[in-house]
Symmetry: C2
């Protein structure tokens, strides 16, 4: 008879769920050297389908950009079709898919979720972390002791898990964690176990989704196309290779079981979905020779969790806290951005740099975002699901209305306009010193040239999510004020730096000088403001004259200069004048510990 | 007692030497599916030092660009220092390192040769090819039989090799090859075995090279800097990470043994080299705390092999056929470009598409280039090695003279101005139809947008070195002439296509239409000119209006359109009007077989 043993273990962070939100979190923590584990109940990774749109803002972050862009399809143009005079559809217009002027990547990208997860899994493996699977959590308990909850070194969360493929008698493990992240999807076990409610409702709209390699004469098959026809609505999202995803509006009576009010999939299939789509494509033809890659039906639900954390020790993220329609391409982006927001905060607390209260800003920032997302989704889904205006139907949705909504929402749907309200980490008191760099929003993309070698760099690429706050010193042209600042900055930052670390371990300082690449010598900038030759930038064009220049103007900074603090996740947190070191010091002391 | 056995084997192509020229060749052939072997006498790859400059033109080719650019350092700015009034040096000017307006990458890049070789080795392994090492060739013999030499399926070259780490008695192998490429360096065994002479001479200039991580207050340490001082000349080439390479002029009497006239390295070392460099840096200081990465001494030799091939069956490439000074950063680029030129020609012959006479163009094109390179190198080395002009020395090299040479040579040293003269594969009769697309030079970089999805693409990236000739059909605005062309092109190309292949296997056809992305439907282009939805481009900007546009104008093509043929290595080979299919047909029949 096998003996039964129950393992007990400790971990700093336990992540439950290895979808995009969980993997983003795990990869971020592992690359910061955190003691982290990630479990998932599925035996392997996602095979096909599921979410696959990546917003321009998501591309700006995260450091896996190159690999991602190499594989992904890009959506530049949106096309709009409406009922024409001859019974079929005709193109009303083509316009940019992303109409946000500050987008660094002015397009959306699509890539199979499995590929995206693979990028994270590979990166994680480089840090020695793999997903523990198939493993199912069975109970979670948060200690009620105030003292344990306040001590960042305590392990106040107890999670019992079952390893499904362990040998009999060895399946159970009790994990004591400092922090737990529940990224376990729309039906989140973590959320339900903690009794967190979802607020909102199911809509009446039912859609089918099918991935095909089309054979078609439709000229906009590789654009993001919205078709409003007399025979239903359809949206085309081209994907990598020759694959195209179709979102197809369905008639509720065909797919909703009237007795239960629930979706009934039986009797439906990809062939029938395609039959519906064909009607809305008329007079164009569409069919497929290859087998269908993937299909599903879904009923749009629009809900947000009532809270995102318990005792600042257990957090839920991704689909576990917000569900919405997939057509706006928000789900995976919002999910990854949740844990991108959370990860660095946990690390700062674990390292003893920041106070545990920093973690309150996660719910504050991300729940507000989720609510905005749902509001947006409701409007957009409604416009897209209702009948188009026509001669017979004056009350329908007009093209102008739909198109305006599409463009207005571009700022939101691109992820560019995420805005965090003032908090311990967002101090907008001195906004006027950097007028166009909105405090609480991501740093605007801008090319600068490196003073030492005149090589152009996108500033965003120099601000990696490496847990450190970035202090950008816009020195202006005259280096006098920067020299004074350097002297005062040293003691102010040393106060916040653990004894066994250097200031540069905790803060990344870059200087941005107004001056010409032919003239400035980087060696003139005070050493405190350039820990390495690569840390001095110039607001100048590169040698072709085509890249960079006018950075101060773009950011709305005058030649008096400014200090701009960028959070580890790329959002602007603070602005002050060069002689306001006390103010800077107070900002950091609002959430960091004087050590 | 071990029995002694001599293996005999056959291979389509045997490459001797796994430096940059050999690896470029091996990777190109392996990715084309050729039966190829590559041997090298060294047991492992290069550890440090050696060549490491990459020209802008080299970056434009080859498909390994992304990985390369990720790791490499970039040189944008050049700085020039000359004797100042106070006994030390001072900066005379800064100017662009690359001053060729058509360069797509307006900088040079530097990367350790070992990294570059690693990129090729990894890519090769993906095609199942590894370097056979340590393996030494001991004899080479080319058959004298005319019939064998003319038959591309014969194996007229016999090479005997010794596998140094094989078990005793099994070291020897006799390899019968259709073709052999000798890429075995400046002291090429292949060249000597075939009795090919090197023409040219040794110069009197002796230089030392040292790689260090410097500690310095010199403000141009990260730029490509030429120092002419009263205490000798020095050139700075910054490399990846914090490493910098110094080329240091030496006094012949210190390093040449008067009895032999040869370099004597003993008594010299990196410390002494650095002592010499320090004098030319004065009044700036330079030292290093870390151990020196690598160093060497060299005497400039400027020679070109009298011929580059024997019987169109054995070819020499790279340093085996041209040696010159390293300062102009030409060596590795010229070597890789040699086999980039040769590889596709061998594949076309092996596949039976082209006549074996195509191989004559290798020597014709690359020997002329090597001669130009040496002539350039002589001028540049002399200017750089001689004393600078000063009040005491009116006859010295003036800064203006050096700077002008530096800029004039930029077109050459960047690799952009490589020009192949008319031959079977370069037909410049209709140059006027694409005035700015010089026939015999590489395709100018230009961004177009893809008609199906408005995604911008650099045309060069759509012309991979995949052995196929690229037929670019500039249709103009009106698609009428393109429709007529499509009908006539089909039979013309079918004639040159083996029966078991489609036209698209042998030729890659792209259409470039004048028109707006909001209006053009790619489905209007005749199917013969778009084998896939990705094959139609528009001469228009992308949706930001910042990328692309004016491509016809940039290339000097009118709205009457043109056919432009690009060779598999990216060079323009032929231009004609849309109604000159006979001319096109004759061009291809000049070196391809009617099948």
């Amino acid at each position: 008879m096998p003996t039964s043993t129950i393992r007990e273990s400790e971990v700093d962070v336990l992540i439950i769920g290895a979808g995009p939100a969980g993997l983003m979190c795990a990869n971020g923590l592992a690359s910061a050297g955190v003691n982290v584990r990630i479990i998932d109940q599925r035996p392997g990774k996602v095979a096909a389908g599921q979410a696959d749109g990546i917003q321009p803002r998501t591309m700006e972050s995260y450091g896996l950009l190159d690999k991602f862009l190499k594989q992904a399809n890009q959506l530049h143009l949106a096309a709009f079709y409406n009922p024409g005079p001859n019974g079929g559809i005709e193109r009303t217009s083509r316009s940019p898919d992303v109409s946000v002027p500050t987008a660094r990547f002015p397009f959306e990208a699509t890539l199979h979720q499995g590929h995206i997860e693979r990028l994270f899994l590979d990166s994680m493996e480089g840090h020695g972390l793999r997903v523990d699977r198939p493993t199912v959590p069975t109970s979670i308990e948060v200690s009620g002791e105030e003292s344990a909850l306040k001590n960042p070194h305590a392990y106040p969360v107890k999670v019992v898990v079952t390893h499904l493929d362990a040998s009999p008698g060895h399946e159970t493990e009790v994990i004591h964690a400092k922090f737990v992240v529940g990224a376990d999807g729309a039906h989140s076990w973590v959320r339900k176990s903690l009794g967190i409610a979802m607020e909102g409702e199911q809509s009446d709209y039912v859609w089918g989704v099918v991935d095909i390699t089309p054979d078609t004469d439709f000229p906009d098959i590789r654009n993001k196309t919205a078709i409003h026809s007399e025979n239903g609505s359809c949206m085309i999202i081209p994907r990598e290779g020759d694959v195209v995803r179709l979102y197809i509006q369905l008639d509720n009576k065909d797919v909703i079981d009237p007795s239960t009010g629930r979706l009934k999939k039986d009797g439906f299939g990809p062939e029938r979905l395609l039959e519906v789509a064909k009607k809305s494509f008329y007079p164009y033809r569409i069919s497929t020779q290859s087998p269908v890659d993937w299909w599903t039906l879904y009923q749009i639900g629009q809900r947000v969790a009532s809270k995102f954390s318990v005792a600042d020790r257990v957090f839920i993220a991704g689909d576990a806290c917000h569900t919405h329609s997939p057509k706006a391409g928000q789900g995976m982006n919002a999910s990854m951005n949740d844990t991108h927001n959370l990860g660095w905060k946990i690390v700062q607390v674990l390292r003893g740099w920041a106070d545990i209260s920093l973690l309150k800003t996660y719910e504050f920032e991300r729940r507000k975002y989720a609510q905005d997302l749902i509001a947006f989704d409701k409007k957009f889904s409604k416009l897209f699901s209702e009948k188009p205006q026509s001669e017979q139907r004056a009350t329908g949705v007009s093209h102008a209305e739909f198109h305006t909504a599409f463009q207005t929402f571009s700022g939101f749907s691109s992820g560019i306009r995420v805005h965090y309200e003032p908090s311990a980490i967002v101090d907008n008191a001195r906004q006027e010193l950097a007028r166009n760099l909105t405090i609480g929003e991501r740093v605007l993309p801008q090319q600068f040239v490196r003073a030492a070698d005149a090589r152009p760099y996108e500033l965003q690429d120099l601000l990696p999510a490496d847990v450190r706050f970035k202090i950008l010193v816009f020195t202006g042209h005259d280096l006098g004020p920067a020299r004074t600042l350097a002297e005062r900055l040293e003691p102010a930052l040393s106060e916040l730096t653990p004894r066994d670390k250097s200031v540069q371990d905790v803060f990344d300082i870059l200087s941005i000088v107004q001056g010409k690449k032919e003239e400035v010598e980087y060696t003139q900038v005070p050493p405190m403001l350039r820990s390495h030759w690569s840390k001095v930038l110039l607001d100048d064009t590169d040698l072709t004259g085509k890249i960079g220049g006018n950075g101060y103007e773009t950011y709305g900074i005058t030649s008096s200069g400014a200090i701009v603090v960028v959070r580890p996740d790329g959002y602007v947190g603070f602005v002050s004048a060069l002689d306001e070191v006390e103010r800077l010091s107070l900002y950091f002391k609002g959430f960091m510990k004087a050590l």
